[in-house]
Symmetry: C2
Subunit: 400 residues, 2 copies
């Protein structure tokens, strides 16, 4: 008998039919002899509807009251799913975030889970009840309701699995696992049976929108075996595990991120600490910087180029212009026609030829590389957006 | 400076415009120097919508899960009202039932308030914050969410006023007070400035649908000064107080209850304890019996006639038929063409002529009386529904 945590997102519980599909998955798992703790998000558009309602009254409400409002979305889901499971004749109980003992920090709207008091959860498990927990929410030290922000329900599920020592944390989604590439773009993409936390983290941040990074980071920290699995097909999904439990592949996936922009600072004074000035200034304003390339320009001056998420481009430009004199550069140039193509694989570190294979594939496909960045388990290149589909196919065919 | 509890029902907070009307009343009270604790119900049809959603999934859900679901209605209201008050620039905080320390018994769907832990409430009052509390809900000893059933938000308001020692508990509704008769039926009806708890209880149970009896009973028990007042007109309402604080009127109101049925048990054996048998049998099945008339029929047998709420008629008939032999009667006859007309007044007890005045008025209006029942502060008669409008007008004109 295992203890299994199962998480279902908003689209999986959007209407009565889907709620019963979820109830069926949950009760099948339970009937097989497992203890089951379920985490659910708000139904379909509920959260957006509540936000709209609030904005009509106050375009700038306090985050505390917004959290009181939004927490209803999940509290509605848990009771409805519990009712569906009751209908199927199984013992079940729903718990809100605070009832499930989920304590968070003070940051309304984006709170972090601090600890989970498992007393109530363990009591209900000992009664062999299926437990339905509201994702995305908790309480802070004032007993005020908080929400966890983006990816919150995934995080709730992994945190509960860690706190309860669960054998597996299944994240049900509308895709049936993690693929070697986006299957909508690359028809030959194939599903991975398993992948390491680090590979998953790289793939997630590279635009494979399956799991939120926060939940994978937590899974890695607490050694929670995870599985990304479809609530529609009922096929096995992709397991996410510690590196030593996974049979390492040289390359486990190819990912593309279209939402980036490249910023170049032209003719910077060639003084020590100049890179520090640029990137600490941006970091202080919350701009995440990715691939960085530093080169020598004319007259011994330097150019520095780097990428930022498209959504941060305007902010980054403003921050740099405001600090132009302090940093010391001649002009800013921006390119929005580039995207990032990456290969990820935990086996890469022992296989120096992998990067070369990627460049070879790109060269053969006549794709020009603008910038290159490598880490132990990843090689990323900046290429033109218009060439990226061809490039992705070429790289994928090379490795798989 | 006073502490005032203000309660607003679902229609008072149904949309953005009305929420701001409520916010205006609340902040005006606060700005005048008072501490204000506000209790709100779910917006408009929210509760019905949630019930419908549940029934679609499970026509017979557990009461516990139903309470988890329904509590969202009030939790949505409190946050939206808090946001409206924030918009007006006042300090405000919303609290759910459990955050406000409202502890109830175990009876899901119709729980009774057991105690209120006022620590959090007093802390927020000391910070001069307007507090918005979710009506209709609390938690039981397992920390599970409960709802209070019909009239729940009124009860929450009075219970909070009692626990906090509030100076006044204002119940805002869509009528502007308690009238000597239903003003839609009797144009000459006039608003009462004040009334005793007992008078209010009689009027409420007699069909003057202003306040739920539970809240008035609680007000009486804990000596909470109450006021029924309109959230639309901004006129003074009707104060409900202890008898010694109220200038006693002979008759303070005329009320009519159309939703009753009369049941007669014909030819009962004239044995001791027969009335006990009838009414304990009905009480055991939850049938409330009102006016009772016992008379001697043919052959020394008795007839017993009594009234029940129309909604309980079928149940009452079934219970009586099932126990026909045990109780011992020949047949049941039912009349649904009767209604109950009552006059209520705390001064009546010292004024034996009041009942006679009522009968005189009815006689002059040519209204036939079927049954009569009197108490210290009330005289009720059963009359034909079709004659009741005329009768009500005649009685009202006699006294006012």
């Amino acid at each position: 008998m295992s203890l299994i945590v199962q998480k279902f997102g908003g689209s999986s519980v959007a209407d009565t039919e889907r709620l019963f599909n979820v109830a069926d998955i949950v009760t099948s798992t339970y009937a097989a002899g497992n203890d089951v703790v379920v985490v659910v998000s708000a139904q379909g558009d509920t959260t957006d509807d509540l936000i709209e309602k609030a904005k009509e009254i106050n375009p700038n409400p306090s985050k505390r009251e917004m959290d009181v409002l939004l927490a209803n979305g999940e509290q509605i889901s848990i009771s409805l799913l519990a009712m569906a499971i009751e209908k199927l004749g199984y013992p079940v109980i729903s718990l809100t975030g605070w009832q499930a003992g989920i304590h968070t920090g003070m940051n309304y709207g984006a709170a972090r889970i601090k600890k989970i008091e498992t007393e109530r959860l363990k009591l209900e498990i000992s009664k062999r009840r299926i437990i339905i927990v509201a994702g995305f929410q908790g309480i802070n030290k004032f007993e005020d309701i908080t929400t966890l922000g983006r990816g919150g329900s995934d995080t709730t599920a992994v945190a509960l699995a860690a706190a309860l020592g669960a054998d597996l944390c299944q994240i049900y989604t509308d895709v049936d696992g993690v693929y070697t590439a986006d299957p909508r773009k690359i028809p030959t993409a194939r599903k991975l049976d398993e992948i390491t936390y680090d590979e998953m983290l790289e793939l997630a941040s590279l635009g494979a929108q399956v799991l939120h990074n926060r939940s994978v980071e937590m899974g890695k920290r607490f050694n929670v075996d995870m599985e990304v699995i479809s609530s529609f097909t009922r096929n096995p999904g992709t397991k996410i595990k510690e590196a030593h439990k996974v049979e390492k592949m040289n390359v486990s996936g190819v990912a593309r991120d279209m939402d980036i922009a490249q910023i170049s600072l032209v003719n910077m004074a060639d003084a020590p600490g100049i890179a520090y000035k640029v990137f600490s200034t941006l970091a202080n304003k919350g701009v995440n910087v990715d691939i960085i390339l530093q080169s020598t320009g004319r007259n011994d001056a330097k150019d520095i180029a780097f990428t930022v998420p498209s959504a941060s481009l305007e902010l980054a430009k403003k921050v740099l212009e405001d600090n132009k004199e302090n940093i010391g550069f001649e002009s800013i140039s921006v390119r929005e026609d580039l995207c990032k193509l990456s290969i990820v694989g935990a086996g890469m570190v022992n296989n120096p030829g992998v990067a070369a294979m990627m460049f070879e594939a790109l060269s053969a496909a006549n794709v020009n590389i603008d910038m290159i960045s490598t880490s132990e388990i990843k090689v990323s290149v900046l290429i033109k957006k218009e060439e990226s589909e061809r490039a992705m196919r070429a790289v994928h065919d090379k490795f798989f």
